[in-house]
């Protein structure tokens, strides 16, 4: 699924708000004002709302159910999205490992934050990379070392 959009340059706040919403969805950026996502019921709905919002702020957009010209191109886009998530999982893994040596209070705060972060990444992870498992394991290990009421 593709979203092709144009938003007025000024004011910049709505532009940035749309940019952030697309980031949250984990879109692949194919060009200036062109993003891609695998199409399912949820992503289609989310993209539709964003398209609607772009219209309300004076921009324009079209939503496409598109097929890449070749399987290789589609694979490249999927690989790019997978790498973007892999980098996010690596950041979680690193923070979990650092927190393992921290004091209990600090550790449980980090644990809660990383659990939320894993959920967030998981929602936009359409092509799970190998790093996912490692990040999940590191956060679980952190939970097992923490007092039970925090690990819940």
């Amino acid at each position: 699924m593709l979203l092709a959009y144009r938003i007025p340059r000024q004011p910049s706040t709505p532009r940035i708000s749309i940019w952030r919403k697309l980031d949250r969805l984990g879109v692949a950026r194919l060009g200036d004002g062109l993003v891609a996502l695998p199409a399912d019921a949820r992503t289609r709905e989310q993209i539709d709302w964003i398209a609607e919002e772009i219209g309300e702020m004076g921009g324009s957009s079209t939503v496409w159910l598109a097929a890449a010209g070749s399987a290789a191109q589609e694979k490249d886009i999927a690989a790019e999205m997978r790498q973007a998530r892999a980098a996010e999982y690596r950041a979680v893994l690193q923070q979990a490992e650092t927190a393992a040596g921290a004091r209990p209070g600090e550790r449980s705060r980090t644990l809660k934050r990383l659990q939320a972060e894993l959920r967030r990444i998981g929602r936009r992870d359409y092509f799970p990379p190998a790093e996912r498992e490692a990040a999940q394991r590191a956060v679980r290990a952190l939970a097992e070392d923490s007092p039970s009421e925090v690990a819940r």
Binding site: R24, A41, D48, W49, A51, E52, E53, R123
Partner: protein, 143 residues
């Protein structure tokens, strides 16, 4: 009155239907369509692209209906936080119930018709409302 929304209802549409029945129109008839173009002429569309009663800015459709019909009940606004997080999940509100409600609705949509989802979720939202009404009065979670 007739109301129309997209088929395959999920949290926002189910909650809107409940809100409409409880606070806007005591005898609503709901129509589910696959395409905005097939909304019957006499029906008010909600939670659909192009409809006024839909997402606007950061609001989900439930919040939009509360605003349009000037429903100021703080308990309804508390439910709006849960619906907002279950639907949009942008962490604007702290609503830990949202994740559970989201999963329940997704599961129901796998096993039931849209009409049945509205039947089942009616009492669920009634219960959520009552719980948060008591919580608000007590100033803490009711037993």
């Amino acid at each position: 009155m007739r109301w129309a929304t997209r088929a395959g209802v999920h949290i926002d549409r189910a909650a809107c239907a409940w809100l409409i029945r409880r606070h806007v129109d005591p005898e609503p008839e709901f129509v589910f369509v696959d395409d905005p173009a097939s909304v019957p002429g006499d029906a008010t569309p909600f939670d659909m692209r192009g409809a006024d009663l839909s997402h606007h800015g950061d609001d989900c459709s439930f919040e939009t209906i509360l605003r349009r019909y000037e429903l100021g009940d703080p308990v309804l606004w508390k439910l709006a936080e849960i619906v907002h997080e279950a639907d949009i999940d942008d962490e604007r509100f702290d609503a830990p119930e949202a994740r559970g409600v989201d999963v329940i609705l997704r599961g129901l949509s796998m096993i039931c018709s849209d009409e049945r989802v509205l039947e089942i979720t009616g009492p669920i939202f009634d219960g959520l409302y009552e719980f948060h009404r008591r919580a608000l009065l007590l100033g803490r979670e009711p037993a």
